[in-house]
C-alpha cells in the first residue's frame, strides 16, 4: 500500500505509535539503569515497524498475545502509557495492578490478552481466542507475536495444525530479529521459518524488510483480511533487528553480533525511515513531525510521572485475583477467625 491509499491519519498514527514505543522503551531502559524498575526489561527498540505494522493491521476488537519483549505490543494496539509504565515499576495503578510487571503486560481493553514470559507459551492462547471468535461468529481475528527462538517450540506447530484444520482466524507473527538471546537463529533453525507453513497447507509469508512499516502492514493486513473472511490462519515472518541488548543491563562479555552487521542495521532505523517517507510523500512537514515527537515525549514524561507518584499496591493484593471468588481451607475461610492471608498461606492456594 502506498501512503496515499493509506491516508495521512493512519500514516501519522503509525508514526506516533512507533515513537511511543521508542520513547517508552528508552525511558524504561534508563529507569532500569537508575534502579527505578525492579528486575529487567526487554525493549523493542529497532523493531517498531514490525510491531506497529502488525498491531495496526488489527482492528480494535481483535485479540493478540505476546512474549517477553512485550511493551511494544500493547502500545502498538493503543494501550495508554501511564498504566503500562506503572506496571513496570510494580505500582497498584499498573495495568495488571502490579502483579505482572514488564514480562506480563496485558490490557484486555485493547484486546491484549497478555504477554508470556515462557517462550512460545502464548501461541496456543491466541489460537484459542480465534477458536472462540469462530464458534461465536463475532468476526474477531487473533494474532500471536513470537520470536525466532520461539519458532522452534513444538506448541507453534500444534497450533498451526489445529488452526489450519479448523480454519481459525489467527495470524502467527514471527518477529525474526535473528537472535534468541545470544544464539543466531540460523544456527538453530532448520530451513526458513515462513516456509514451514507449507507443511500445514497454510500461507507462509516472509517480510524481508521488517524495518519498512508499509511492508509489514501490507503483509499482515492481507493475513488479517484472509482470517476475517474465514479462510484460516497465515504465518508471517518479519525479518528485523533489535538495537539494544537482549535485555537492559545484560553484559555478556562476548560479541555474538558482528559489529558491521549491527552497524548496517542501525542505519535502518524504522522511525527515521518512515519519517523520511512521510516528508517526501508530502504527508507531513518536518515541523509537523517535530511537533508529533514533542507530543509523544510529553506523553512518556507524563506516564513516567504517573509511575512515580502512584502508590504501591497494598500487600493484601498478593492474595487477590487467584480465583474469581477467594477461598482457603474451609476451617479458616468460613469462621473468619483467621485472616485471608493466613488461610492462603496455609493451603498454598
Amino acid at each position: 500500500m502506498d501512503l496515499a491509499a493509506m491516508g495521512s491519519t493512519t500514516a501519522l498514527e503509525a508514526q506516533r505509535r512507533m515513537l511511543r514505543i521508542r520513547r517508552f522503551d528508552e525511558r524504561a531502559s534508563k529507569m532500569v539503569k537508575r534502579g527505578q524498575i525492579p528486575g529487567t526489561v526487554h525493549t523493542s527498540i529497532g523493531q517498531e515497524a514490525q510491531v506497529v505494522g502488525a498491531t495496526m493491521a488489527l482492528g480494535d476488537d481483535d485479540y493478540m498475545t505476546g512474549n517477553h519483549r512485550s511493551h511494544g505490543h500493547p502500545i502498538g494496539k493503543g494501550s495508554p502509557l501511564g498504566p503500562l509504565m506503572a506496571e513496570l515499576v510494580g505500582k497498584g495503578t499498573g495495568v495488571c495492578g502490579g502483579k505482572g510487571g514488564s514480562l506480563h503486560l496485558a490490557d484486555f481493553n485493547v484486546g491484549s490478552l497478555g504477554e508470556s514470559g515462557i517462550v512460545g507459551s502464548s501461541i496456543p492462547i491466541a489460537t484459542g481466542a480465534a477458536l472462540s471468535s469462530k464458534v461465536l461468529g463475532n468476526g474477531r481475528v487473533s494474532l500471536a507475536f513470537f520470536g525466532d527462538g520461539a519458532a522452534n517450540q513444538g506448541c507453534l506447530y500444534e497450533a498451526m495444525n489445529m488452526a489450519g484444520t479448523w480454519d481459525l482466524p489467527v495470524v502467527f507473527l514471527c518477529e525474526n530479529n535473528q537472535y534468541a538471546l545470544s544464539t543466531p537463529a540460523h544456527t538453530v533453525t532448520s530451513g526458513v521459518i515462513a516456509e514451514r507453513a507449507a507443511g500445514f497447507g497454510i500461507p507462509g509469508v516472509r517480510v524481508e524488510d521488517g524495518q519498512d512499516f508499509l511492508a509489514v502492514f501490507d503483509a499482515v493486513t492481507e493475513a488479517v483480511e484472509r482470517a476475517r473472511r474465514g479462510e484460516g490462519p497465515t504465518l508471517v515472518e518479519v525479518v528485523t533487528y533489535r538495537f539494544n541488548e537482549h535485555s537492559e543491563g545484560l553484559r555478556l562479555g562476548v560479541d555474538y553480533r558482528d559489529a558491521a552487521e549491527k552497524a548496517s542495521w542501525l542505519e535502518k532505523d524504522p522511525i527515521v525511515l518512515f519519517r523520511k517517507h512521510l516528508v517526501t510523500e508530502g504527508v507531513a512537514t518536518d515541523d509537523e513531525l517535530d511537533a508529533l515527537e514533542r507530543e509523544v515525549d510529553a506523553e512518556v514524561e507524563e506516564a513516567f510521572e504517573f509511575s512515580q507518584t502512584s502508590p504501591f499496591p497494598d500487600p493484601s493484593v498478593a492474595f487477590a485475583d487467584l480465583y474469581t471468588e477467594p477461598f482457603g481451607p474451609t476451617h479458616l475461610s468460613r469462621d473468619g477467625a483467621k485472616s485471608a492471608e493466613q488461610a492462603f498461606s496455609t493451603i498454598g492456594a
Binding site: 495492578g97 502483579k99 496485558a106 490478552l113 484459542g128 463475532n138 474477531r140 474469581t324
Partner: protein, 343 residues
C-alpha cells in the same frame, strides 16, 4: 424429583448434556469426542433417535482435536478468556503432562498475573485408568501435582450423583477446574436425580457416620472405605467415612470436626505417598487438631513406585478394603491411655 439409575459415566454424560442445552457458550473439545469413544458425549438411551452429541449440537460445538495436548489445553484457555466455556476431554489423566506448561503457566496464572482481567471458565476432564492393567503410561493419579498449583480447582468425584452435580458446578465456575474421574468407578450405579442440580465445591460428603475413627477417602478409596467400615462394624469399631469430593477447595473443616469427634484419622488416597493429597490432609489435621488426636495419623496410599502391568503386581498397590481396615485397626488399637501415661 424424578430419579433414575445412572452409572458414573452416564452421570457425567448427563451433566455435559445439561450444560450443552443450557448455554450456547459451552463446547466440548477433545480427541475422539465426535464418535463418543469414551462414552460421555452420547445421547445415552435416546442415541438411536438422536445420535450422539455431534448430531445433536453440531461440529461447531463438538470438536475432535488433533492429538496435541499442549495446544488443546492452551486453546481452551484462550477460548475461555474470550467468551467460551469449554469442556475439554483429555481422555487419560496421564496425558495431562504433555500440557504441563499450559496448565501451570497459562491456565493457572493468567487471571492472577494480569490483575484479574482474565476469567478462565474451562473444565479439563480426564480419566484415571489405574487398577486396570494399563501399565505405567496410563495409570497415573496426578491430582496432587495440580493441587500444588495455585489457581486451579481440583475435583475427584467418587459416586454417580457427585459426578453429575460437581461437573455442573465445574462448568458454571469462572475459574479453571480439573476433574479426575477414576475408571474403576465408571460402572458404579445408583439412583441419581434426573433434574439439574449442583454440588458446591469445598463441601465434603459424610458417606457414613461413625465415632471411633475418621477415614478420609478419595476416588476408589471411598467405596473401599465403606466396605472396610462394614467389616469393622462387626468387630465393634465405628468408622466415619468422609469424601472431600473437591481437593481444592478442600473442606478441611469437615475433616477437623470429624477428627475432633473420633480422635483418630486414616487417609486413604490412591495417589502416591510423597506430597499426595493424603499428605496435605494429614498436615492440616496435625497443625490444627493435634490436641484431638489420640493416635498417630495413618496414610493408606500408593507406595512411591511406578505402576507395573501384571495384575499380580498392580492390585496390591492401591488402597483397598483390607489395607484401609488394617490401618483403622492400627490406629484404633494405638492405646491412647498408654500414650497419656507416657507423658
Amino acid at each position: 424429583m424424578a430419579k433414575s439409575t445412572m452409572s458414573f459415566l452416564g452421570a457425567i454424560g448427563a451433566a455435559q448434556k445439561e450444560a450443552m442445552d443450557a448455554d450456547e457458550r459451552v463446547v466440548i473439545i477433545g480427541e475422539d469426542v465426535e464418535a463418543n469413544v469414551y462414552g460421555t458425549t452420547g445421547a445415552g438411551k435416546s442415541r438411536k433417535d438422536k445420535g450422539d452429541f455431534l448430531q445433536m449440537y453440531g461440529r461447531n460445538r463438538i470438536r475432535n482435536t488433533p492429538i496435541s495436548e499442549e495446544v488443546i489445553v492452551g486453546a481452551a484457555a484462550g477460548a475461555a478468556m474470550t467468551g467460551l466455556r469449554p469442556i475439554v476431554d483429555l481422555s487419560y489423566s496421564s496425558f495431562l503432562y504433555m500440557a504441563m506448561d499450559q496448565f501451570v503457566n497459562q491456565v493457572a496464572k493468567n487471571r492472577y498475573m494480569f490483575g484479574g482481567q482474565a476469567s478462565m471458565p474451562v473444565v479439563f476432564r480426564s480419566a484415571m485408568f489405574y487398577g486396570l492393567n494399563t501399565g505405567a503410561h496410563h495409570s497415573d493419579r496426578p491430582y496432587p501435582m495440580f493441587m500444588n498449583v495455585p489457581g486451579l480447582k481440583i475435583v475427584v468425584p467418587a459416586s454417580p450423583s457427585d459426578a453429575k452435580g460437581l461437573l455442573r458446578t465445574a462448568i458454571d465456575s469462572d475459574d479453571p477446574v480439573l476433574t479426575f474421574e477414576a475408571c474403576m468407578l465408571w460402572g458404579l450405579k445408583e439412583e441419581v436425580e434426573e433434574d439439574e442440580y449442583r454440588i458446591p465445591f469445598g463441601v465434603a460428603r459424610t458417606v457414613r457416620e461413625g465415632t471411633d475413627v475418621t477415614v478420609v477417602a478419595i476416588a476408589t478409596a471411598v467405596p473401599e472405605a465403606v466396605k472396610a467400615a462394614d467389616a469393622l462394624a462387626e468387630e465393634g469399631i465405628s468408622v466415619e467415612v468422609i469424601d472431600p469430593r473437591t481437593l481444592v477447595p478442600l473442606d478441611s473443616r469437615a475433616v477437623l470436626e470429624s477428627v475432633a469427634k473420633t480422635g483418630r484419622l486414616v487417609v486413604a488416597d490412591p495417589a502416591h505417598k510423597t506430597c499426595g493429597a493424603a499428605a496435605e490432609i494429614s498436615a492440616i489435621v496435625a497443625e490444627e487438631a493435634f490436641d484431638a488426636l489420640k493416635a498417630p495419623i495413618a496414610r493408606v496410599v500408593t507406595p512411591d513406585t511406578q505402576i507395573p502391568f501384571s495384575p499380580a503386581l498392580e492390585k496390591q498397590l492401591y488402597p483397598n478394603r483390607e489395607s484401609i481396615a488394617d490401618a483403622v485397626r492400627r490406629v484404633a488399637g494405638a492405646r491412647p491411655r498408654q500414650l497419656a501415661d507416657a507423658r
